[in-house]
Symmetry: D2
Subunit: 359 residues, 4 copies
Amino acid sequence: MAAESKMKTKKVAIVGASGYSGEELVRLLLNHPHVELVAVTSRQNAGQTLAQVFPKFASHPKSKALRFTEPKAELLAKLADVVFLALPHGVAAEYAVPLLDAGCVIIDLSADFRLKHAEIYREFYAHDHPAPELLKKAVYGLPEIYRDEIKKSLLIAAPGCYPTSILLPVIPLLNAGLVKPTGIIADSLSGVSGAGRKAEADYLFCECNESVRPYGLPKHRHLSEIEEQLSLAARTTVTIQFTPHLIPVTRGILTTLYLAPEKHFATEAEMKTLNEKISACYVRAYGKEPFVRLLEGKALPDTKNVTGTNVIEIAWRLDPRTGRLIVISAEDNLVKGASGQAVQSLNILSGWPETAGLV
Amino acid sequence: MAAESKMKTKKVAIVGASGYSGEELVRLLLNHPHVELVAVTSRQNAGQTLAQVFPKFASHPKSKALRFTEPKAELLAKLADVVFLALPHGVAAEYAVPLLDAGCVIIDLSADFRLKHAEIYREFYAHDHPAPELLKKAVYGLPEIYRDEIKKSLLIAAPGCYPTSILLPVIPLLNAGLVKPTGIIADSLSGVSGAGRKAEADYLFCECNESVRPYGLPKHRHLSEIEEQLSLAARTTVTIQFTPHLIPVTRGILTTLYLAPEKHFATEAEMKTLNEKISACYVRAYGKEPFVRLLEGKALPDTKNVTGTNVIEIAWRLDPRTGRLIVISAEDNLVKGASGQAVQSLNILSGWPETAGLV
Amino acid sequence: MAAESKMKTKKVAIVGASGYSGEELVRLLLNHPHVELVAVTSRQNAGQTLAQVFPKFASHPKSKALRFTEPKAELLAKLADVVFLALPHGVAAEYAVPLLDAGCVIIDLSADFRLKHAEIYREFYAHDHPAPELLKKAVYGLPEIYRDEIKKSLLIAAPGCYPTSILLPVIPLLNAGLVKPTGIIADSLSGVSGAGRKAEADYLFCECNESVRPYGLPKHRHLSEIEEQLSLAARTTVTIQFTPHLIPVTRGILTTLYLAPEKHFATEAEMKTLNEKISACYVRAYGKEPFVRLLEGKALPDTKNVTGTNVIEIAWRLDPRTGRLIVISAEDNLVKGASGQAVQSLNILSGWPETAGLV
Amino acid sequence: MAAESKMKTKKVAIVGASGYSGEELVRLLLNHPHVELVAVTSRQNAGQTLAQVFPKFASHPKSKALRFTEPKAELLAKLADVVFLALPHGVAAEYAVPLLDAGCVIIDLSADFRLKHAEIYREFYAHDHPAPELLKKAVYGLPEIYRDEIKKSLLIAAPGCYPTSILLPVIPLLNAGLVKPTGIIADSLSGVSGAGRKAEADYLFCECNESVRPYGLPKHRHLSEIEEQLSLAARTTVTIQFTPHLIPVTRGILTTLYLAPEKHFATEAEMKTLNEKISACYVRAYGKEPFVRLLEGKALPDTKNVTGTNVIEIAWRLDPRTGRLIVISAEDNLVKGASGQAVQSLNILSGWPETAGLV
């Protein structure tokens, strides 16, 4: 307690706080023990208080004092130690450059700094990278994989929601050489909040309710960061199959992964051995992680068990009939898949307990 | 069968066929035994086939031949005997005037011709009535109440979804003098399709899912037609309390009505007598109606029992503790509350079986 | 901080922890800063850990150590200072009697101790009260109204979910004589969790999804406590009209209340004056309450703004057309309407900050 | 019309008419132009009318005359020409044997007669087959594949809902040798009605709403019929990976299939050629099928476009990055996946238009 109370509070701003990720950042940062939320910006809501824009935060003492402002880098630089960018790709970089120059730490939730190569960015995002010189400075903000790098970084690129649900289950297996880097399939189901608070007919209640549909086939933008990270883990170029689907829930991503074990298992004994290796691999990777829940026994992931939390659930099954390994993960796309994970990075780079404000 | 096969088919057009009511009209009219759907209009979808805009109709033989066009009155007048207008209020009248002049029958789903008085229209719709001279010619298209007038009319104003759910249960009771015309309360719950296919943030999946909320308090536009019709039934000016709520279903309106019986009931015998009078009143009014279902025994209305049909369910309870009569109705807002009822009027004025294309 | 750290932790048990209210108590008490959760009971889950029964709590350090046990009063009495009963009515009293005798504080979420009169209990619950001698000792656990009594009580009867949504908005108005105690109507919409985790066909997903329906008309059990409490506030016998409806959300109650102001308002000036009186009345009653949110301006309650919190939202509108006052409230039926409010009472009687573990 | 009116009406009974498939059969058969529904059975509802058990059918003239009876084979044999069995596996065979002996045609919706080999049945259903001698007589009731056999059969085994969604897209490709019979993955998402009207906690609204979860991994019972049928199409033993998931919709199955083309495609020209071959293959197989909708252009399947209809939507994409073929199908699990398809078989074996009662 003594140690905690000595922790220096940081002043934090959120640029683009009126979307779903931004709103979730507001929720988490308003209640974070070591954070003072000093600014929230939104073009459309400038001038309004937090309480007016988000009635659900109206009981918080700060909600009537804090007003949305226009996003102006020079102003934010004066107010904040850390700036979260919850903006569309392409736009985020515009703010990152001057804010970094002014000495702020940037935690960016867009795709702008997730990739190592500007040409891959152009291939997947269909425009030139707005600040390619920063790509080298950025750290991919997946705490369970890049904790040490996050500690020292000034520019964190928080991973996408789908990538998080795929990378956390697959990276340890590739690292350990337990599965082949080829033929990986990720079949993902996402809640509608993943589409953002855009007033588009496709995301109207009546279009999503009693509906399930794939979209973005076969080359979704998130493939770029997924494959880059998997390639790093496998130390070889990895190309995966990824199919996102929209399902009628507000929050949650469930990903079912189809993987080929490196080692063939034919007998029950071989299957048992492989199962133990996978289990050991996951326990080694995540056994002490506060936000990764390895399911045991007959339990399988269910988005309703992680909604509103920063936890990702992971379970797996070997199928002796097909020789495949099935791994399933569940996360809240707005928390572990976006804002919660971003706050986790903030905790790490600030030297705070990693779970601060997240439980 | 012989009689039916002699029935003359009518050529029908739908103006504004890309909204939810328009889409429902397409569904009903494509499968109507005496209708040839000759034109569908939509500014935004002009040039596309029915199958392209509404994949769910793509198995219908006509869906690939019929293309959306720009809405042009002179063209429609040449093609169609009957024109359905599924347009916003204010806009519908623009089409009604020339089409009526050209000899078409108009069935209008907007609010433009529902009221008798242009000044009431202005009070509730905040602009001058675009064609006040037509108000006298229009018939309020509530078939169970105005069947005879509908038979002879060239301009039908299909009632609003909320009004239908209120008027059908209340009018017979007022007609029979069983309830007081004062103090009526209508508490209504509507599915999100009632808001139309508008790309507004309020109707996004994530804003409606896991949400219930009232809106438009305390003076919703539909009050104008509700009160006008109730006043006619009661032969005195009726003012009611009406609270609409938005609930997370695609289709359905459930209305709970609080009414004061004219006759006080204190003993069990008085209650039994009153119950029998109400029952007799409803059976007299609706016992032979194909689309009104009077619930018996312990059954209570449930929107899922009427969804996709032109049926309205009605049940009632006397409460000896409060002396009140509670009446509950359930309907599909897009069918009995809009397009189905409009087709019912088409059947009546065409001399076809009233249920044609509706079961 | 110093004061807080000196606060004595209490040992708390939950009897009937496998239902929805019980699960919500587990969630709140696991994370309560001054509570040690020492026992959870459930006949059907006895022997299993918290983590096994509720995977979503599996990341909590206690979830693997704490096992469900059979509910045995003598054992609980040894372990716990405070026992929450989340049991059906009739059963709760069985545990309350021996546990009170053994010196435990009881916070009961059932209906067993909410009424002052055993004969009213029998009328509404259809069996004799199991421990009528305790009725006098029990305090109705509505903190905003009975805070002082709760401080001194050993037996708290946490109010029902519907009653909370009705009493908090109406009591101040009756206390202040602003509305008539006659003719009150409460039209309530509840999420399905209100029915409990009962495996009954009526509450299956396919029966509730895309469905809205009233039920329990016209004499719901909750009327007994609602009318008793309103009568106390009005100092006269109050009989109300109450219609519950089931809507397809997991959590949330929205109640729309129809009230008659004591004072007639005809002119705009009279309406303004009355509006100010109501506003002043509510601010006096709840202006400093941490869990009552009085909505201002055009905002109206929405269950999604209170879900997962202990907050009740209240808004009102005067309708000059009908002379009525409409008051609307929204709460989470499992939090403010059940477990959260029960924890609020625990905080009060323990001398802890009233918001401990609730924000 | 003349031809149609000469069509002999058949007397039809439904055994097990109170589940979701049974209810859907009732809906379809009540409105079928050539069917007289003469009996519906249900142990739990015996004695009640159709209108009482299913309020939504109460407007149908027959709904008050037709009463549920106990299921008694001798009685049914006297009443009906055709008997639909909507019973659990193991139980269906008990009725099939005596009814076939009595000369009835049987259309069975259970799994009892879908497999060719009793030992496979025992492996997947964990009990001995109750009437193995009938397996040879049964025809797998997938009309698009076995139309000729259905015409001549007295015992139709209507396929399972998941199998239909997998077999229709895959069989033509295997038949044509366009995809490899190895490595097939079927990732399926099902609405909750697939679980039947069982009062189990897992299927309560609150457990399914805002939830997505896989289940039955890795060896779901439906694999037996899927693999048997695929093996027939491929003329070699096929083993597939199949992962069912439960999603919060009432109706609908969406299946995403991952297939390996027999022919490698590297250049754009090769991809174009392969695409044309697949297109030609599907058009050949289904171009004239009234209930298979091959999607063109950018359209992708969406369950809301097939809900309530007997249509299955199919779309495909070649992925040049992975060399895979992705095929997606959408159907209503209760219609094309169960009762609608069963009625389609009835139409075929009766010599009626295949779409009778289904559009």
